[in-house]
Symmetry: C2
Subunit: 653 residues, 2 copies
């Protein structure tokens, strides 16, 4: 830094003329090596939650135990498990099982898979999650959106009707890749990637998916047999109205009745949370009731389509069905990637929500490994992609679940169903499954959140609309890609066009604040004080240069009009400049040159450590980082420079 009070005389601190004023020196931060900086940067990026903190300073045995508990959370809560907890978990486990059976069958159909795969998927994955997962409330199983995406993506290349075995094997392969991808994100600690799906994106995306899913149910609700293979709003509606001759009044009557019952049950549970069991039990009751109706009235001969024979027995192994042949590898990987990230997003969000409610912690990266491993194991045991479902987890929580044991209870119930109860579903009408799906996905259309987003941030609302219409009129992938793209573009634009604010003094204080925000703030004659509120880098150096020069011109022309003192000091408050790069440092050189021509001085205030270091390294001739033009606060800069202005101009031009 060199010694103070050399160099330019204009900036000279003229202390003698003043009442004693302390000026704090801006010092460079303590030196840290590049390796050290890189290390701490990597730590913040990948290990921001500092997962090894608990291991510090522990004896070796304790470290081992902690390590096992870290990898298998069941060893953490298992030893303290009590009969009281078990009672709660059995109740909640049975409750979610009653929901999981009809939903499993329905969602498998949504994914164009045999209904029984939905039950398989509610048996193995919950057991895996119970051992590995750290959430106590997550109810694991297939979910609507991932089912929809998997079904629609695979159907683009392989027909589930013409080639069901290939379709099934690709579903398992996609599930394998989804799990692999999810576990890798966790292991590589790249979990933050799912944060790139903002709440606005997800709200729009979910609502769009709900619309798409509901439209698909028109097939079973109206009893249409020749239905379009496309997912979009336009082809589905035109298909529905082209095939009016296939509409079956018996099906429609049954569908509408059960839909109304289910919607009413849902409504009731929302209004009175204590009655959660009404909506939790309604789907199973509907399935039983409708099956009995069909059986009694032999309705399958009157235009009502039924599930048909289901083979009993537990999950057969499926590792021999994983298909890594080059012809469909790309499709399986793509499908796995998209369903993996979407189901991960849902699972993590659900886990975090309930963890926050009950005040415990869920480690995002660890959860990813758990969900990923669960799907890898699932893909070898005839399960398709699963995750923590929002609606079922809410029921689980309402029913009083205390630990992951409720998942085990659910799993055992499904096992019993698979072993002994499968023949009962033979006459279950498809229309009631459609009604169950519609009731389940209708909750994904979240109008209050949409309104909340509209109220707070119009741009987020736009992102939401893009995701919604992208999904409804384009495809699931397009909707997501557009929404993520414009969300990230917004962030880039915030950096490319950063805010600059003209500061003024709050009378009677040494506080300087935005003149446009604080009306009582007044500009200081002879000074132009600007705060820059973004990193200074290659994307905005040109803009900032132009913008600052424009501020100067605007203020100068105003000063001229009012015969005010012309600008002598341009003070840049850099407190909010959190980073700078090689292009950024040239900004100050260029500003300095432009200001020299105008006869004004560039003064910097409070550059943070990194910015200061880089400016110093770039400023070999000490033009900019002269101590007499560098202050710690705007107040001190103005006070010191004002006293210099007032001093007789004896020793300069």
């Amino acid at each position: 830094m060199g010694e103070a009070n050399t160099g330019s005389v204009r900036c000279d601190r003229n202390m003698e003329l003043m009442v004693p004023m302390e000026v704090h020196k801006v010092v460079p931060p303590p030196h840290k090596s590049t390796v050290h900086k890189l290390k701490s940067r990597l730590k913040e990026t990948f290990f921001s939650d500092d997962p090894l903190r608990q291991f510090k300073g522990q004896p070796a045995t304790r470290k081992w135990i902690l390590g096992v508990q870290y990898l298998f959370p069941i060893f953490e809560w298992g030893p303290h498990y009590s009969f009281n907890l078990l009672k709660s978990d059995v109740v909640s486990g049975l409750t979610i099982a009653s929901l999981a059976i009809p939903q499993g069958i329905s969602y498998a159909k949504l994914a164009n898979l045999p209904p029984i795969v939905g039950l398989y998927s509610s048996f193995v994955p919950p057991l895996v999650y119970a051992v590995l997962g750290s959430s106590r409330d997550l109810a694991v199983g297939p979910v609507s959106i991932a089912s929809l995406i998997m079904g629609s993506m695979l159907r683009q290349e392989v027909s589930p009707a013409l080639n069901p075995m290939l379709f099934l094997s690709l579903a398992f392969t996609s599930t394998f890749f989804a799990g692999l991808f999810q576990a890798s994100l966790g292991i590589l600690r790249l979990g933050f990637i799912i944060d790139f799906l903002s709440k606005a994106t997800l709200t729009g995306f979910m609502a769009g998916a709900a619309v798409i899913v509901s439209l698909q149910q028109l097939k079973s609700l109206l009893g249409i047999t020749h239905f379009t293979k496309h997912m979009g709003l336009v082809p589905v509606l035109s298909s529905v109205f082209d095939e009016t001759n296939e509409w079956s009044w018996q099906t429609i009557l049954m569908g509408v009745s059960f839909l109304l019952v289910l919607l009413f049950a849902r409504h009731l549970s929302i209004r009175k949370p204590k009655l959660f069991w009404v909506s939790a039990g309604a789907p199973l009751v509907s399935v039983i009731l409708s099956t009995v109706l069909v059986f009694v009235f032999k309705a399958q001969h009157h235009g009502i389509s039924v599930i048909g024979k289901l083979q009993g027995g537990l999950n057969p192994p499926s590792w021999n069905m994983l298909n890594f042949s080059a012809s469909h590898l790309g499709l399986a990987m793509r499908t796995g990637l998209i369903t993996g990230i979407i189901s991960l997003t849902e699972g993590i969000a659900v886990g975090r929500t309930f963890a926050a409610l009950k005040n415990y912690k869920v480690d995002g990266n660890k959860e990813m490994m758990a969900i990923g491993l669960m799907n890898i194991v699932g893909s070898t045991t005839s399960c398709y992609v699963t995750t923590g479902a929002f609606s079922r987890s809410a029921v689980n929580n309402n029913a009083g679940a205390k630990t992951a044991v409720s998942n085990i209870v659910m799993s055992v119930t499904i096992m019993v169903t698979l072993l002994f109860l499968m023949p009962l579903f033979q006459y279950t009408p498809n229309v009631v499954l459609g009604a169950i799906i519609v009731t389940a996905v209708i909750g994904l259309i979240d109008i209050p959140t949409a309104y909340h987003i509209w109220k707070i941030d119009k741009f987020d609302f736009l992102v939401m609309l893009c995701a919604f219409f992208g999904v409804v009129f384009g495809s699931v992938q397009e909707g997501l890609a557009i929404a993520v793209g414009i969300s990230l573009f917004k962030i880039l634009m915030q950096v490319t066009r950063p805010k600059t604010a003209l500061l003024g003094n709050l009378p009677g204080s040494d506080i300087y604040r935005n003149l446009q925000h604080y009306q009582e703030a007044t500009p200081v004659p002879g000074f132009l004080i600007l705060s820059i509120e973004a990193p200074i880098n290659f994307t905005n150096t040109t803009y900032l240069n132009e913008r600052i020069m424009r501020w100067i011109e605007e203020v100068e022309s105003e000063n001229d009009a009012k015969n005010h003192q012309s600008i002598q000091y341009v003070v840049l408050d850099l407190s909010a400049v959190n980073a700078i790069d090689t292009s950024g440092v040239t900004l100050f050189k260029e500003l300095k040159r432009s200001l020299d021509v105008k006869g004004a001085e560039l003064v910097l205030v409070n550059p943070i450590g990194e910015v200061m270091e880089k400016l110093q390294r770039a400023d070999v001739s000490h033009d900019i980082m002269r101590p007499e033009c560098l202050y710690l606060t705007v107040g001190e800069a103005v006070a010191a420079l004002q006293s210099a202005m007032k001093a007789p101009a004896s020793n300069h031009v």
Copy 2:
């Protein structure tokens, strides 16, 4: 906001106990409508230079004149043109013409085009630019990098040897698209897109391109006839050493001699800028000398390849050659896009550099329109893509150019050459053109800048290396894409993992600064003061939540170890939070909830206007934005809350 001093008693301002302390109220910014905000946001994004400022408050006739001058800058400087200026411009125009003739021929060969196209391209575009351009120093013509890119991209699909007419027509079509793209960027005011090519990216890219270009010259420098069609380092070198039998000693001797002369001339001019004419004249002298040598010794029969017969005459029209057939449209558009953006970047950078040196202004968007229109016109008059060349503009400036008239003088000189002197180039050896190109591009390898980047910012250096190796081992497009990708990723990561700093008090002041930077700063007992230095949005809400909780835990365990007071207030300094979105506002609710559990209070300091507005709109229950937990400076917050802490805890738990 409600009235103060209600709600929580813990935050109560207890004024009576203190020496009179003024606490400034945080007020919401004056209301502005969404439309108003959108308007000012759009203005900052697209019209940040406020181009219509000069029109404000002018009479109608004056507005017309200003408008014409705005579109055609020649009407701005033309009327004041004087004989003195003309003298300077003639000298510099002749100087750059002597450079433009050999370079034009060489660069056209670099683009696999007939040599004469290079001269055509130095005739029409400078005339167009003289009328439309606002830079006084730009010397317009073909440039090495754009020539290289155009040649290599087109050659991927069309062979210039087998199908020269198609190749030529695609070159003109690409030029047309390049011009269209450049002009559109200017008209749509999207000029900031070229800022996304950072200095680091360009430095690496240019150096890589120089290596690639130089390697290509081994063909003419060694006299090889069967040369690879690839551009990469590996295929070229293996081709060179595979064909050692084709090396011609006469060619190598001539090449090395002229290369040494040219490099010496360049070296001399760099050391003594007054001798700029040495390096400016050397290429033409070399061409003349080598042509005479070949002619005298009939060297074309001794293995030295020559340009061959060139047709005289001015540019023939070429609009009939523009090829918009579907089979090559994609290629032409891609090539146009890449060459357009690269040549635009060079042209704008050159214009800005010299404008800054001579203290006048160059309007980026207007320049883009000028360069774009110049290329559109060029594409219809047998010119390929042109821009302002750095080396030639530097010579132009050194030779004393005052206005764009020097471009006109150069253009006229080229016209004379085209009309009368073309037969003279028949015996010009290709080897000397290779030497000229190598000498020209060697200046693109900018070691001092690379060192400067290394010194200031290691990450930028990495970006530079990626661009360099991407170009050398991959392709021009790959190098650019990788470098731009990781530059933008860095910006995203700065937002995704924002800095948070623990603040402490500078003794004897009310200033709070980073504890790690200012060693004399001391923490305030009972307080945890954090500054957040980034927008709070969906990409970082989860991280910030975890990071803040980690800060609290770290400080608390330290406090416990030292038996210090536990944390009662978590003060977040939001001065540097320049934006917030719907996900961001949930951060404060979650923090508030976590802190309530810990028995600590959340205090916010100085949210800027937008952040404040959104927080208020989200905080319907006034949990967070209570006036007694909202301060304008950290100093005031600590002072007020400390006095509340000291007050007898009569009215709370």
